[in-house]
Amino acid sequence: MAGRGRLVDLIVLDSLDSLRPPGFDLMVLVIATLGAILGSIQPATSSYLLARLILEPTLFTVALYLALRSAAGVASLVGEGIMEVYLSYPLSRGGLALALVTSRVLVPSIILLSVPLAVAGVILAPVVLRDPLGLLVVFTGYLVQAFFYGVVFLGIALSSRTSGTASIIGITFYFAYNIVWMLLATLSPGLGSGLLRLSVAMKFYEVLYYYAMSLSGVHPSIEPGLLGFTLVPAMTLVALAGTIAYFKWRFEPT
């Protein structure tokens, strides 16, 4: 119990650093306002459509935030010697890695994705209350995708140790991932539906969007299949296990 309390203390302490004002506040204010405006200028008649309208552009900003502030911030913790203080806590290294994943990836992703949705949800309350499940399903898709990017960025930051290098490699990974997705989606008409399925599977939110669509009785144009539901979650688990294992056995704080 005491160990769990210390874990929560560390998550709160590190969250206060990763979510510090004014940069974070300004970012949330801008994406929440613009996201809600985007959601209200078009007549989204289903909550899953509303969620997609808002979260599609927001995910890009979340990925940049996770790469530039959250993950690169970990590299700064190492450079400034704060990581040594963290490691002196009576917590296992695995526990500390989990705390960093929570405070640097999970908490910022939840706040950045949910605030614009909450603002639009109030304005379009009659639409959202009719089908809250669709909104939650699509939100989960974007959250899992953001979490995947964030865990990869964190792993890169821990192994690269300088914030500049961590940012550059993180953004390069994000760019490459999205270009590969775009190539698969573009080439799929000529090379077969397998590539199209793979490109959809690379974006977990697309898969859950189609799922939310089918829950509402609208037949989606693509059936994502088992690959769609498993690819990103599996890659996330591998990235998470790799990051924790690296932190536990290979990471040197000095």
Partner: protein, 211 residues
């Protein structure tokens, strides 16, 4: 005044809601749109009128005047441009397309003239069957016909008109179904409550509890 994280989030929620509600009131989504156009066909043998929902759901009605024969394909999911392109295989080409993106009504609509022979246009039901589309013919009375259908999110309709003369007039009416927004007054009230709660979280009596 230093606010805790949840207080900062509440203030941000309130301010965002205030700004977004004002913009939504002034430039927010419309629940209906209509358009009317008279298209001179020149040497073209037919007119294609198309409409596609951008994301919402609604009822569409297309009234056509000066028509001899009217066909339509409803519930097209996917790109209407691709469908028109596939007609090219059968020597039916679309020209002079004029497309309007009415984002606030969530509808893309427009028309294009069709250059082909009247014989091929008359054979359209058979051609559509080969493309796995179900095409329907509309009853024309005194040169006028009307097509009514429901558009689900992302669905479209394509109407093909073989004219009586050298021009066709059409009128489009679209009504969004199932869209409602909270009124500005209610949004501003929620916004004020959120900002108030957020600011209250930073008041000194809250801080005393930490000591």
């Amino acid at each position: 005044m230093r606010l805790p994280l949840y207080g900062r989030i509440l203030v941000i929620l309130g301010v965002s809601l205030l700004l977004a509600s004002i913009v939504a009131e002034a430039y927010g989504a419309k629940t209906s749109t209509s358009a009317e156009a008279t298209v001179a066909l020149g040497t073209a043998k037919g007119l294609a009128i198309y409409a596609m929902s951008l994301g919402g759901e609604g009822n569409i009605e297309l009234r056509v005047s000066n028509a001899q024969t009217v066909y339509y394909i409803a519930n097209i999911s996917g790109d209407i441009g691709t469908l028109m392109g596939s007609l090219r295989v059968f020597n039916i080409s679309a020209f002079n397309a004029q497309t309007i993106h009415d984002v606030r009504a969530g509808l893309v609509y427009g028309h294009a003239t069709l250059r082909t022979s009247r014989f091929l246009l008359a054979a359209l039901p058979g051609i559509a069957k080969m493309l796995h589309f179900s095409i329907k013919q509309v009853k024309v009375v005194n040169g006028e016909a009307a097509v009514k259908t429901k558009l689900k999110p992302g669905e479209g309709i394509l109407v093909v008109v073989i004219p009586q003369g050298d021009s066709v007039t059409y009128k489009l009416d679209y009504h969004v179904v199932g869209y409602r927004r909270l009124g500005l007054g209610a949004s501003l009230t929620v916004s004020a409550v959120l900002v108030g709660l957020g600011l209250a979280s930073g008041l000194p009596f809250r801080r005393r509890s930490y000591t």
